[in-house]
Symmetry: C2
Subunit: 226 residues, 2 copies
DNA sequence: GGATTTTTGGAGCGATGACACCAAAAATAA
DNA sequence: TTATTTTTGGTGTCATCGCTCCAAAAATCC
């Protein structure tokens, strides 16, 4: 097994405390776990699958991650860190108006859901929707994550009303719920093998439902003066 | 246990062949299984959960249904029989035009996804999307079911073009993919506890993406003369 | 160097999951 | 009645699942 250890530092070169150094790269292992959960779901991913993909032993697993459920939570957070990056970058981009932000959101979704370097679709959108009572905790966690992104969309639309690029009589929560639903639908399509172009076009169609008309300021960048 | 048997007939009063009569109602047991699969998913539903909910023994289970997977297929067909009823009744209603058909489809979806007498959401929409390699068969089955309903929608839109109530330059497959995605999204929303009104309104918003404009015959019932 | 701390390898464990087997029971057919 | 067919109850089985324990190894701290 020849642990390749550099004096005083671990594999990634960061300083360590005392104790035997880990032979594996924790964040790499976490990514491997994330990928597996993403592809197979929580229930479909077994303990043995995990430690095999992560390249570690059962002992190291529990020493470093605690339990399957704890690992799933961590993998989920890792995923959200990652996807939240592009998601919020677009949603909160001050240089574009609200409608453009949502259009770009779907362009990026189509892209992210069909990249070759990770499983298709989304790790959150469909997770914990149908599960046994014993998975209540996980289920509630996923429901919360979904509600969070829907809430962020609603907030963005509200800002759009303030900025004047969204009609004032728009039901922000409902419009967000709609776009949230479309995103979940895209996740299903992606899982079923839809192409990037197909997802893109679905997103474009979804944008045709954007509220028409009487915004104070029809288009152009939102000023976000509020 | 007292099996209540009427001479020569089984519980449901239908004629039997020879052999010891079954003490349980097969279609009732199937419904119970369907409900459980619907609520918890395939992996989340254990053998013991099933026979408990169906009120039968392991022997009766395997004698009558073969295996968990076979039962799942049967439960799925049962579900499709059932949901296909209202789905195709609306989709193929000759008295309404294409756009109205889709609007009604979503009204009904909102209703069916939030009825008290069965689990919320849909048994097909999100099933088999994230699963291990060993569930390939089930996965492919569900992908096919989803493709089937999407195909039916596309077909209906094509008929709409023929009938003249849908613009001729409409991309039928893509529009169907969009509405299919929305329906999947509604399933997620329903599973997360969305109200009937919320689903309804999402459906109404989705209808705003309907192709505008240059149909040969703007509205009114489609004649289906083709 | 010795104490301490942490990770690792490897074996094992109790529970559950899905199913298999078999003889008895209860019906019909001959 | 007897033979045949089918269902039932009960028990057993075999693999997997998620996890635990323990002693050895490899680092740091004093």
């Amino acid at each position: 097994m020849t642990p390749k250890i550099i004096e005083g530092r671990d594999i990634k070169g960061t300083k360590r405390g005392r104790g035997r150094p880990a032979v594996f790269d924790r964040s790499r292992a976490l990514m491997a776990a994330m990928t597996l959960f993403w592809e197979r779901g929580y229930e479909g991913t077994s303990f043995d699958d995990l430690i095999a993909a992560m390249g570690i032993s059962a002992s190291s697993f529990y020493n470093s991650f605690g339990s399957k459920e704890a690992l799933y939570c961590e993998a989920t957070k890792s995923y959200l860190d990652w996807s939240g990056h592009w998601f919020f970058a677009i949603l909160n981009d001050p240089s574009i108006d609200t409608r453009t932000a949502f259009a770009r959101l779907f362009e990026s979704t189509a892209e992210e859901f069909t990249r070759g370097d990770h499983p298709p679709g989304c790790m959150i959108s469909l997770a914990g929707t149908h599960c046994p009572p014993g998975m209540k905790h996980i289920r509630e966690m996923m429901v919360e994550h979904r509600a969070f992104s829907e809430g962020a969309m609603a907030e963005r639309i509200r800002k759009g009303i303030e900025a004047g690029d969204v009609p004032e009589d728009t039901d922000c929560d409902m419009l967000a719920a709609y776009y949230s639903a479309v995103a979940r639908g895209l996740a299903v399509q992606a899982r079923d093998g839809a192409s990037r172009e197909k997802l893109s076009e679905i997103g474009r169609l979804a944008m045709r439902a954007w509220p028409a008309g009487t915004a104070r300021q029809q288009s152009g960048p939102g000023r976000n003066r509020g």
